[in-house]
Point group: C2
C-alpha cells in the first residue's frame, strides 16, 4: 500500500456544472410522443398543467441540448454537490481483477441518494409558480425523503404516499420524512378513490409504485394549490439527474481516464439516465466508446422481459400513455428490498435508447445483489442501497470477466445511495432468509403481455 | 442568494494531515497519572499489555508533540477523509444571527461518525502485533460499528457488547455491525462474570457503558489472541481524533477565518478532544483565542456536576483508577437517546484541561437538543446524531446571543455524526413523547458524590 494512491476524486464547488444535459438533442431519432388516453393524440403542455408547473413542462418537451440550472437550485445543490468519485481499490483487490473500478457516490445527499438532484429543482419551480403543496409517491422512501427535504428548503408542504410493503418494512424512512416536515401515508390508502378501489379488491395489497402514483396524482389534481412531483421516468427528471454524469466526466478527466463500461441500476430510469446520458453524448460524438449497461431486478425486469408498448405510468390509468418497456400497469412486483426498482415500466427515454441499440440491460437476482453489497461494505466501507447493489452485482460480474480475460477495463458505476435505512434487508440476507423469484415465476406474465400489445390501439 | 457563496470547504487527499497532535506536550501542567487499583501506584506499560498493543500503550504515555500516522492507516482514512467543513448559511438565516457558523462533518465516515478515526489505527496496531480478535463495548452503536468496519479492513474478528437500552431501541446498529462482519451481544450479558453479577441483582438492567466495558475487558483479558479496544476516554483515542481539528484549522485558513468559539459534544471526550485540542494548541501558542466549550447531557453531566476524583472507568472496577470528572462508576445514566454520551466519567485529559481553566462546559436537556437537531435537518439537510445535537443546541444558544449583542462571532462546531440509525429518537421527539430528566432527579446523587471523594485514598 502507498499513501500516493488516490481513493477519492473531489471537485470544488466552483467546478460544479451549471447546466443540465438533454440527451434528446443528440439522439438519432426522437422518442415517440406521450399520448392522451382519452383522445389518443399527443399530449399538449395544457394537458399537463394540472400536475406540473410550466417550467417543468417546458423542460419535459424541450429539445435544447442544455438547460441552465437556476442559481437558487445550485445554492441548494452545494449542500452536498459535487459528490465524490471513488476508485474502488479495495474491491478490485478482493476480486483479483485488473479492471479499474470507479464509483460515483450519491449517498452523500441529505436524503442519502441521487433523488434530491431532481426534488430540489422540482420544488423550486413549483414554488416560483405559486404552488404551496406537493404530493408524490415513494417506494423504498428515497424519493419521498428527497421531496420532503426539498420542500423544507423552499417552504412547501409535502405529502407522500409510500408503497405499503416498504412503509411497514422500513419504518425509518417514514421517520425521516416527518423529521424533514413531510406527511406520509401508506399506499393503498383510504384517502383516495384509487386507493379505496384497490383495497376493496385486495385488502392486504402490499402496494406498488403504480398504485401510489395514482393516489398522489388524484390528490394533486383536485387541489388548485397543489402539484404532483414524480421521482423518475419523465424526461425532466432524467434531465436534472444528468449533473451526476457531468461531474463524473470531469472527475475521470482529472485522473486521465475514459470509461470502457458504464453501469447503473434501473428502476424508473433516473439514476441510470443521470449517470449514463452524458457518457452517451460522448459516445455519440465519437469522443469515447463506453458500453452502457443498465442493471435491473430479475423479479421486475421491464427492459429485459417487458414489451415495448404504450402503457400507463400508474395502476389506475390516470397518466398519459407512454411508449416504454413495461410489464403491464397492473403488474404487481414482488416485495423485494430494492423498493425503488419495483416499477412496472421504464422511462420512455431510456426505453427508446434501449430500442435504438445504444445501451445494454441485464437482470440481477436479489441474493447476488446483496452478496455484492456485503462485499462492497466490507471492502469500501460504504453500505450501499439495495437498488445500488444491482449495479454492484454487475460490476462484480464484469470485473471477474476482466480477471479471466486479463483486460484492464475502466468500469464506472453509479452508487445511487446508502442503505442505512435498509438494514433489515441486509439482516435478512445475512440470516439466509432471502429468496429469489424471477419474472418467470409470475403466472400473469403471458396474459399481461398479450393485453399490453393491444393497448396502443385503444381509442378514446 | 448567490452561487458565489461557498457552502463546503473541501480538502484534497494530498492535504490530509499526516500527524496526530498530542496536547499533553503543550499543557501548562501534566495530568495526574493513572493508578493501579491494587497498589495505588502509577500504572506501568506492563500493566496494560493484557489489553493493548505496545504501540498504543506508548502513545497513551507519550509526551511527544506529534505522532506520525502510518501509511496503512492514511490509506484507509482516505475512504472518507478529509471530511468537509461547512458554512451553515441556512441555519444562520433561520436564527437571524450575525454569527458565522461552521460545522465539521464526521458523518461521512463508513460508520457515520468520528469513531473510525481511532478504530482504524487501533485495529492496525493490534494486527501488526499479531492480535486476531478485538473486543469492545458500544453505547448508541457508533463505536461498535466503527470497530467492526476497521476489523473488516485488516481481517480481524470483532466482538461487541452493546448497552441493552440501545441494543433494543435501535436494532439497525446491530444489523450494520453484522454486515461489517462483527458479532454483537446485548450488555449486561450472561457471557461474562461481570454481566452475570449485574443481571443477578438487576435482571432488567438497561445496561451502561461502564457495564459493557467490564464485559469486553473481561473477555479480552482471558484470551491471549484478543485485545480490548476503547472508543473514547484514553489519551491515545483522543490523539487519533485530533485529525479532525487539524483538518478544520486548514479549512478555516482557506477561507481566512479564525474561530471565536469552538463547540463539541462531550461523552467520554473523544469527539470534543479531536476537534478542540488543535485549537487549544493555537490558543496556548497565542495564535488564536477561541473560547472552547463542551456540551454534555443534563442527565449525565460529568463535567458540570461530577466530582474531580480518582474513579474506575468501568462499573465492575477492572480498569486502572483515573482522575477524572465522574458521577461515580456505578452511576446508571437515564436511557437518553444520545447513547454515546451515557458515560459516568470524562476523559482524564479533558478533565485536567477543564480543571486548568482552559475550557468551559454546559449541560443541555434532551428536548432542546432534538429541537436543534430538527432545525438543523430542515435547514442544512443533514440529520444529526443525537450526540451531535448537544453541540448544536449550544450553537443555537450562542448564535442567538450573537443576534442580541450584534457580535459576528465565528462559531465552529463538531458535527460528530449522522442520525440515520437514531431515527426512532426523532420520531419520539416529534410525537411529543420525550421527557427531560436532569442529574438532580437522581436520588443517589449525594451518596455517590460522597463515596467518590473517598476513593483516591483507598489502598490495595
Amino acid at each position: 500500500m502507498s499513501t500516493a494512491r488516490q481513493h477519492k476524486i473531489v471537485l470544488d464547488e466552483s467546478e460544479l456544472p451549471t447546466r443540465w444535459y438533454n440527451v434528446l438533442h443528440d439522439l438519432p431519432t426522437p422518442p415517440p410522443p406521450y399520448l392522451h388516453p382519452g383522445t389518443g393524440q399527443p399530449v399538449t403542455p395544457d394537458d399537463l398543467t394540472p400536475l406540473f408547473p410550466m417550467a417543468l413542462i417546458a423542460q419535459e418537451m424541450s429539445a435544447e441540448q442544455y438547460v441552465d440550472i437556476p442559481e437558487e437550485v445550485l445554492d441548494v445543490y452545494k449542500l452536498w454537490r459535487p459528490s465524490p468519485l471513488y476508485r474502488a481499490y479495495n474491491l478490485e483487490r478482493a476480486l483479483g481483477t485488473p479492471a479499474r473500478i470507479y464509483y460515483k457516490y450519491e449517498g452523500v445527499s441529505p436524503a442519502g441518494s441521487h433523488k434530491p438532484n431532481t426534488s430540489v429543482p422540482q420544488a423550486f419551480y413549483n414554488k416560483a409558480e405559486g404552488i404551496t403543496r406537493l404530493t408524490t409517491e415513494t417506494g423504498a422512501g428515497q424519493w419521498g425523503t428527497s421531496l420532503a427535504f426539498a420542500c423544507a428548503q423552499y417552504g412547501l408542504e409535502c405529502e407522500v404516499w409510500q408503497v405499503r410493503t416498504s412503509y411497514d418494512g422500513k419504518p425509518y424512512r417514514k421517520m425521516m420524512i416527518e423529521t424533514f416536515g413531510g406527511t406520509i401515508h401508506p399506499s393503498p390508502s383510504e384517502l383516495t378513490a384509487a386507493g379505496r378501489a384497490i383495497l376493496a379488491e385486495h385488502p392486504d395489497s402490499p402496494g406498488s409504485l403504480g398504485i401510489a402514483i395514482s393516489e398522489a396524482v388524484e390528490v394533486a389534481a383536485q387541489d388548485p394549490n397543489a402539484h404532483y412531483a414524480l421521482g423518475s421516468v419523465l424526461n425532466h427528471v432524467l434531465l436534472h439527474q444528468t449533473i451526476v454524469g457531468e461531474e463524473t466526466l470531469l472527475q475521470l478527466a482529472k485522473v486521465g481516464e475514459t470509461a470502457d463500461v458504464v453501469i447503473a441500476c434501473t428502476g424508473g430510469g433516473s439514476n441510470f439516465g443521470g449517470l449514463a446520458f452524458p457518457f452517451l453524448r460522448e459516445k455519440l460524438a465519437g469522443r469515447m466508446s463506453p458500453v452502457i449497461r443498465g442493471a435491473e431486478p430479475a423479479s421486475c425486469p421491464s427492459l429485459t422481459q417487458g414489451v415495448y408498448a404504450y402503457d400507463f405510468g400508474d395502476t389506475a390509468g390516470m397518466t398519459p400513455l407512454m411508449k416504454m418497456h413495461t410489464l403491464g400497469h397492473d403488474f404487481m412486483p414482488d416485495p423485494i428490498h430494492a423498493g425503488g426498482l419495483r416499477y412496472h415500466g421504464m422511462s420512455p427515454l431510456v426505453s427508446h435508447i434501449y430500442e435504438s441499440g445504444l445501451m445494454e440491460a441485464v437482470a440481477m437476482t436479489q441474493t447476488d445483489c446483496f452478496a455484492a453489497g456485503v462485499l462492497f461494505s466490507r471492502t469500501e466501507g460504504i453500505l450501499p442501497a439495495p437498488e445500488s447493489t444491482h449495479a454492484l452485482a454487475e460490476v462484480v460480474a464484469e470485473a471477474r470477466r476482466c480477471a479471466e480475460s486479463g483486460e484492464a477495463k475502466v468500469i464506472v458505476v453509479g452508487l445511487s445511495g446508502h442503505g442505512h435505512l435498509d438494514l433489515p434487508a441486509y439482516a435478512a440476507y445475512l440470516a439466509g432468509g432471502m429468496q429469489d423469484r424471477t419474472y418467470a415465476d409470475h403466472e400473469v406474465q403471458e396474459s399481461v403481455r398479450e393485453a399490453l400489445t393491444k393497448l396502443p390501439a385503444i381509442p378514446s
